[in-house]
């Protein structure tokens, strides 16, 4: 889970990777709660942490979320640090109060944080204890979203990996089934489900499910397509249950989506002609949708600060389908297994970088004067004030961007900052 060991220089199969460490301008894994709590509708996320954790989630989310949240923080106080026995008692009390207030909760995640990890509060034992106490109404699971172990989207990975043992087993004799792994917007799931049905691929299930009681069965006849590049632990946990991963590009843009679907089509022996017949109209529609943004983006340079691990596939999409010129592709962690196909298509001339020393990276960015900088919320306004054009990276995990029918929207997210610059006369 922790990013790879420091610097080994260069990569055997691709361009050299710049590995850095220093100040990281990234979120911790707790931030994933902001979208996960909307995805699994009867789940609740209880962070066991400090006031900083509570403040982080509401500040990261506060920009966007107004509804009654299905997350909260059990804030540790002085007396909880004195003895772990008391901390456990306190946690039980907090969970009781929470479940009393929200009887609709069926699945409760206890989410570990930096302080809970440092004081070695054993949340997996706490989860077992609380599961026993509150069964059969509520299942209690745990994972870590701590900043010392996870960066931003790795929180989703940890959460989904914790959910894997809850999946029922599909035996040797079960029909081959397809599992789509990664939290996707409902509308995107529905689009993919229709496409797979048209291709004759199925049964298809999505992980995580929309409700906690609908976790799909997993077994040796499960084939999986990973929808997000940051789900390394989840993929390994599913593989340990017998599932086989179908290596593919990630479904961003017309090409990425086609490649991703083709991996499943090949596993299901869908004839080439049938695949083309089904996919072509969608693919064409996606390409048409890209045309307008391409006029804006073609030939422009782009610099990615590390954020979500989506950076390598997005850079591939922007370079191949929109003619952009990636200068640096920063990622918090380069997940080589899941990126096996993407690594073959890293745009030429682009510097891949892993980890971060934010001040040095800012120096490089200022030297390169890219046309567009993709960065987090802490850097965007300061860089705009320096005259650069920026795109908030967080929007890339907070909007529907996967698949054919979102390809145009995804491109438009990158084109909009230019459009805004061109309309403003102030």
């Amino acid at each position: 889970m922790t990013p790879a060991t420091p610097n080994t220089g260069c990569d055997s199969d691709a361009a050299p990777v710049l590995r850095e460490r220093g100040q990281r301008e990234v979120f911790c894994g707790l931030t994933g709660i902001v979208w996960l709590h909307r995805k699994i509708q009867d789940a609740f996320f209880l962070v066991v942490g400090s006031r900083t954790c509570a403040h982080l989630i509401q500040s990261a989310a506060g920009v966007m979320v107004f509804a009654e949240p299905r997350f909260a923080t059990a804030i540790m106080e002085e007396k909880d640090l004195a003895g772990l026995a008391d901390a456990n008692e306190e946690l039980d009390r907090v969970v009781d109060r929470l479940l009393e207030r929200r009887p609709d909760i069926k699945l409760l995640f206890l989410v570990g944080s930096c302080p809970s990890e440092v004081i070695k509060l054993d949340l997996s034992r706490a989860a077992q204890r609380l599961s026993t106490k509150h069964q059969p109404n509520v299942r209690v699971l745990n994972y870590s979203g701590s900043g010392i172990e996870t960066t931003f989207t790795q929180g989703e990975d940890a959460c989904l990996a914790a959910l894997v043992p809850e999946a029922p087993s599909a035996g040797e004799d079960a029909l081959p089934s397809l599992l789509i792994v990664g939290a996707l917007p409902d509308v995107v799931e529905d689009q993919f489900a229709r496409l797979f049905a048209e291709l004759g691929i199925g049964p298809v299930a999505f992980f995580p499910p929309r409700r906690s009681g609908q976790i799909p069965a997993v077994g040796p006849n499960t084939r999986m397509l990973i929808a997000q590049p940051f789900l390394g632990d989840t993929a390994r946990a599913l593989e340990a249950r017998g599932a086989k991963r179908l290596p593919a590009l990630f479904p961003f843009g017309a090409e990425g989506t086609t490649h991703w679907l083709k991996a499943a089509a090949d596993a299901w022996d869908v004839p080439e002609m049938d695949f083309r017949r089904v996919v072509a109209p969608h693919r064409e529609r996606a390409k048409r949708a890209l045309a307008r943004s391409k006029e804006v983006l073609d030939g422009r340079s782009i610099f990615f600060f590390p954020d979500s691990q989506l950076e390598p596939p997005l850079a591939r999409f922007l370079a191949e389908e929109l003619g952009m010129r990636p200068i640096e592709i920063g990622t918090p962690y380069l997940n080589r297994d899941l990126l096996s196909e993407e690594m073959k298509r890293i745009p030429e001339g682009a510097q891949l970088s892993e980890g971060q020393h934010v001040d040095k990276q800012l120096d490089r960015c200022r030297d390169a004067r890219p046309d567009l900088v993709v960065c987090g919320l802490g850097l965007a306004n300061p860089l705009e004030a320096e005259g650069m054009t920026t795109k908030w990276s967080i929007e890339l995990v907070f909007s529907p961007v996967h698949g054919f029918d979102q390809a145009g929207d995804l491109a438009a997210l990158f084109a909009r900052p230019f459009a805004r610059r061109s309309v403003l006369r102030v």
Partner: protein
């Protein structure tokens, strides 16, 4: 452990960041894990600052914990000094770093940097954001404005001078309050020596002693430092916070008494419109509007006074999350015949509002969530606040202009006078009915669920009375329900009939 849905304050190191970000030439090195950099966005996004906060985070990870996190800290501090060349540095630990006990103070000392390095002790598991800001400011003031033995005692010159203490980054309207207060002081003939921490440099703090008195705008931030300055440099403190028409006059009078200046020429400022706006007949409908007030102590106390004295509202609830100032808020509440709500538990505040069913909530961003859900009008009067409460326009809370702003922003969410009557007269109009909300607020959509009856009530409503209750406009329906139930309880009635409703109405008529 405390179950927290929303928190009113961040941890104490965020308070220290508010001081560092407000000032110039000061850098903060914070021992903290990856992820704590989220705090930057409070300043760059919520407050829309155009520069990164002057903070370097050490960013340690799990694999560093067995190794040398102390070395990490030293490198970060050294690099920060070389890169940013600050006049002074503050160093501290966030919640997780506090647990690993690396002693940033000692480590920083060992670096022997050629600038003042001020260590901060920020106990994250006991204290919160405002305390952290106050402590940081106090430590800075102590360091840069020490007692100098044998220094000449300052005597009052022909033009009195003061410092303005308390405004920070991310403060609620601090930027504009400073402008307005400076204008007031200038018209009084008082010079401003130093304003801090906002826009001050460490070297400016060294000049603090060169003033006759201190104006404390935000006691949460500057009270401790001002007391210290009073003790060490004999500087008097002006404690009146000039929020509202009357408090602004008190503020002027307090300074006049201190300096011997005649306040009369500026007491009747022509730009002070609140008194006439409030007296004009259009404002009749504001009389007795039930307001619930919650915020930091400074703004909550001030709001209670403005609401009751200057707008003629009835304050039905008053509280604060600032426990350090609980005593002041309790005293203010008592004056209004109320018991103050002192809590940092959002759920308790939510419960209090649901029970009291006010017509207006004056609170923080958190109360805005609550008011929105309950379909009650709301104006934000205190931090924590959302991006839209950091407006582009000049919008102070203090001084005469601040009072004008308060009138506008608090009255805006309410249904206006004649509209109130029309809604009551023509209840079945398909466009202008109470479910559509105040007609000048297109976005305001009251919650679809009716305001629930108090849980402890064991009184039942007859069908007819319930139907009749529905005919009462939503903005007074809650009060009518409460009154009817209270009346029934007092009269020993088990069932509320239509007549009970009207009896209660007449009983509580005001």
């Amino acid at each position: 452990m405390q179950l927290t849905v929303w928190t009113y304050e961040g941890p104490p190191h965020v308070g220290a960041m508010r001081i560092a970000t407000a000032m110039k030439g000061l850098h903060f090195v914070l021992h903290a894990p990856q992820g704590d950099t989220y705090a930057d966005l409070l300043f760059t996004m919520i407050e829309r600052r155009d520069a990164r906060p002057p903070v370097t985070y050490t960013t340690f990870q799990a694999r560093d914990l067995g190794g040398d996190t102390a070395e990490l800290f030293k490198n970060a501090a050294r690099e920060a000094y070389e890169r940013f060349q600050p006049e002074a540095m503050i160093v501290g630990a966030s919640c997780t770093a506090e647990l690993i006990q690396d002693d940033p103070a000692g480590l920083a000392r060992a670096l022997k940097l050629p600038i003042p390095v001020i260590p901060l002790d920020l106990p994250s598991y006991q204290k919160k954001e405002n305390w952290g800001a106050s402590e940081t400011f106090y430590q800075l003031v102590r360091t840069f404005a020490p007692k100098i033995e044998g220094a000449p005692v300052r005597t009052l010159g022909p033009r009195p001078r003061c410092n303005i203490l308390g405004p920070t980054a991310l403060g609620f309207r601090h930027r504009d309050d400073v402008v307005e207060v400076k204008r007031l002081l200038a018209s009084l003939g008082v010079d401003v020596n130093v304003t801090a921490p906002l826009e001050a440099r460490p070297s400016d703090l060294a000049r603090l002693a060169d003033a006759d008195f201190n104006v404390v705008l935000y006691p949460e931030i500057a009270d401790v430092a001002a007391r210290w300055l009073e003790r060490i440099h004999g500087q008097k403190i002006v404690r009146t916070v000039p929020i509202g028409q009357n408090a602004t006059k008190d503020f002027i009078n307090e300074i006049a008494a201190l300096t011997g200046i005649d306040p009369t020429p500026i007491l009747n400022d022509a730009d002070a419109r609140l008194p006439w706006w409030s007296r004009s007949v259009d404002s009749n409908y504001l009389t007795g509007k039930r307001a619930f007030i919650f915020g930091d102590a400074t703004h909550a106390i001030a709001a209670a006074r403005v609401a009751s004295e200057e707008l003629g509202f009835e304050v039905v609830g008053l509280g604060t999350y600032a426990r350090e100032f609980a005593r002041d808020v309790r005293a203010a509440a008592e004056k209004l015949g109320l018991t103050a709500l002192i809590t940092d538990d959002y759920l308790e505040v939510e419960k209090a509002i649901a029970e009291l069913q006010p017509e207006l909530v004056l609170g923080t961003q958190m109360e805005r969530h609550i008011a929105k859900r309950l379909g009650i009008g709301c104006a934000v009067i205190s931090a924590p606040a959302h991006v839209q409460d950091y407006p582009a326009r000049f919008s102070p809370q203090m001084g005469f202009e601040g009072a004008n702003v308060l009138f506008d922003t608090w009255v805006h969410p309410l249904v206006m006078g004649l509209e109130e009557h029309l809604l009551a007269m023509f209840r079945e109009d398909f466009e202008f009915n109470d479910a559509a909300g105040p007609s000048h607020l297109a976005a305001h959509q009251p919650a679809p669920t009716p305001i629930a009856a108090p849980a402890e009530s064991d009184i039942t409503w007859s069908k007819e009375a319930e139907a009749e209750l529905e005919k009462i406009p939503f903005f007074v329906r809650g009060k009518a329900r409460r009154n009817a139930e209270r009346f029934a309880t007092e009269q020993g009635l088990a069932i509320i009939q239509i007549e009970t409703l009207y009896d209660a109405k007449s009983h509580y008529a005001r």
